[in-house]
């Protein structure tokens, strides 16, 4: 039976494992030698990009979890006319690619965007923040909210109602029930969804690419090293480190949450 695995194993070995080993070797073949792998910490340019990347990813994760927790629990707990429509609208952007999401951010916060037009109409300055870290943050939240809401909803469905009823009958207020019963019950879902969110935001490229080449996050730095500077060794080393970071985040979350966790997009 195991021979059924052979085609997939051959494909995977030839087109993923082998190229990854090659990437690792290329990373050490540049002018910096193997120290290219530590340059991300020692070279201020790369280190600052790393900090910006991790910062945006962390902010995205917190915002996405907050938004999805409120909306997801609400949609799962309350059945009202239009509920199904809301859910399907909220999960529609699920598989939008990063480039398209970048364009959605431009429609909202770009030079001809809605937010700029509204703030101007209200007599204020024209708000345009699409082409900065703020726009990137907005794009990543846009990308992550649909899938996180789905995760929160299916985790809420599995919560034991009786625990909440018990807490209420013992006199707990709504807030206490939320803090002491619902949130701890959803913790595994938060950990795995949060990790996916974080890893995707660290590694995503399309959104940043659409918004501006000037946004200094790691995937953009890697791309510039590769194309403009033709510094292939540095690009290889940085992307290898980036891949290791996202893999590690997901692996840690999987150990903590005990379920399959993987990034998408």
């Amino acid at each position: 039976m195991i021979y059924l695995l052979l085609p997939a194993a051959a494909f995977f070995g030839a087109f993923f494992l082998l190229p990854m080993c090659r990437l690792f070797l290329v990373g050490g073949s540049g002018t910096r030698g193997w120290s290219a792998y530590t340059a991300i910490l020692t070279d201020p340019v790369y280190f600052n990009a790393l900090l910006a990347t991790l910062g945006v990813a962390a902010a995205t994760t917190v915002a996405t979890l907050l938004i999805s927790a409120i909306a997801g629990v609400f949609l799962q707990r309350h059945r009202f006319p239009g509920n199904a429509l809301l859910v399907s609208m909220l999960t529609l952007p699920l598989a939008f690619p990063g480039v398209v999401i970048g364009f959605m951010v431009i429609m909202l916060a770009g030079r001809q965007g809605l937010i700029g037009a509204l703030t101007q109409a209200l007599g204020g300055d024209k708000w345009v923040f699409a082409y900065s870290l703020g726009g990137l943050f907005m794009g990543y939240v846009y990308f992550s909210v649909p899938r996180t809401i789905l995760t929160v909803m299916s985790a809420t469905e599995k919560l034991d109602h009786r625990l909440e009823e018990a807490a209420r009958s013992l006199g707990a207020s709504t807030w206490r029930v939320v803090l002491d019963v619902i949130l701890p019950g959803l913790k595994p879902a938060f950990i795995s969804a949060g990790a996916i969110c974080f890893a995707t935001a660290v590694g995503a490229f399309g959104t940043a690419f659409t918004l501006a080449a000037r946004i200094n996050v790691l995937p953009m730095v890697i791309y510039t090293e590769f194309t403009l500077s033709a510094n292939i060794a540095m690009a290889a080393a940085l992307s290898f480190v980036l891949g290791a970071v996202t893999w590690l985040v997901l692996a840690l979350a999987r150990t903590a949450a005990g379920s399959t966790v993987a990034a998408a997009g």
Partner: protein, 273 residues
């Protein structure tokens, strides 16, 4: 009771705001793609001019993306379904390792995978410049989704008993695989297929580095249009993309909803999306 009503209202308001955040830009982009001059507004009139302009300029990217996504589907079916079957049946330590490895391409950023492919095969000119180079990247990225989708269904049915029953009646392996296994994981295959095609059509992170000027896909064309053409054309292009991808997404939602119970084992397996 009043505070309950208020809480409900607040949560509903919040959820509607999130919904607006996700949907309003989509609507704006559709409108912009159909408006003569978005800067002037809807008063400038509706037109299909931009859609036709995109069709003339970028038709090839649309057909190439459809072609690649179907080829990708075929390869992921051939590679993924048997893999999911073996992973379910063996259930050993080895299968945990295999599963872990297979998921790597979605844990690792597409940029890294693309650079790895280029560093290994960039020198093979005819392969590097053909559309199959992009196909390889898409298969790497979408295979985990097919495997997981089929795995989720297979894990929820008692395949071992079914197969033993068939085997005791004299069915050989080939017959069991095609008459028992495949029909039972039909829904998983369908969901996986829709996911694979949707993701392949929209894939950008890998494709941007893997493509050549002669092998541009739809998202690559989109990035081009966003960067260099007027907003209306970018929007019209996005509109065409949405027309292709939204039916797939709606179909995915539709098959995810009804969960028919069949030959179900005791422990439910959490859905993994």
């Amino acid at each position: 009771m009043r505070s309950h009503k208020m809480l409900f209202g607040l949560q509903l308001g919040f959820t509607l705001a999130v919904c607006a955040f996700l949907i309003v830009p989509v609507v704006l982009s559709i409108l912009a793609g159909l408006t003569s001059n978005y800067f002037v507004g809807l008063e400038s009139g509706l037109t299909l001019r931009w859609v036709f302009e995109v069709w003339d300029g970028y038709r090839d990217t649309i057909f190439r993306s459809i072609g690649i996504s179907l080829a990708c589907l075929l390869v992921t079916l051939v590679l993924g379904v048997p893999t999911a079957y073996v992973l379910t049946r063996s259930g050993s330590r080895l299968s945990r390792v295999v599963e872990e490895l297979l998921m790597l391409p979605i844990a690792v950023p597409g940029l890294a995978t693309a650079l790895a492919l280029i560093s290994a095969y960039g020198g093979m000119g005819s392969f590097r410049t053909s559309w199959t180079f992009i196909l390889v990247g898409h298969v790497l990225f979408t295979l985990p989704f097919m495997v997981r989708s089929v795995l989720a269904v297979l894990a929820s049915i008692d395949l071992k008993t079914l197969e033993e029953g068939a085997a005791s009646l004299g069915a050989g392996f080939r017959q069991r695989f095609f008459d028992i296994v495949l029909p039972n994981c039909r829904n998983g295959i369908l969901a996986g297929s829709l996911m694979v095609v949707t993701l392949s059509i929209g894939e950008f992170n890998l494709t941007w580095l893997l493509h050549t000027p002669l092998t541009k896909t739809l998202p690559v064309g989109l990035a081009d249009a966003y960067a260099s053409l007027r907003l209306e054309i970018g929007s019209a292009y996005t509109l065409i993309f949405l027309l292709m991808i939204v039916p797939l997404l709606l179909a995915l939602q539709a098959i995810a909803r009804p969960r028919r119970k069949r030959f179900i084992r005791d422990d439910p397996v959490p859905e993994s999306t």
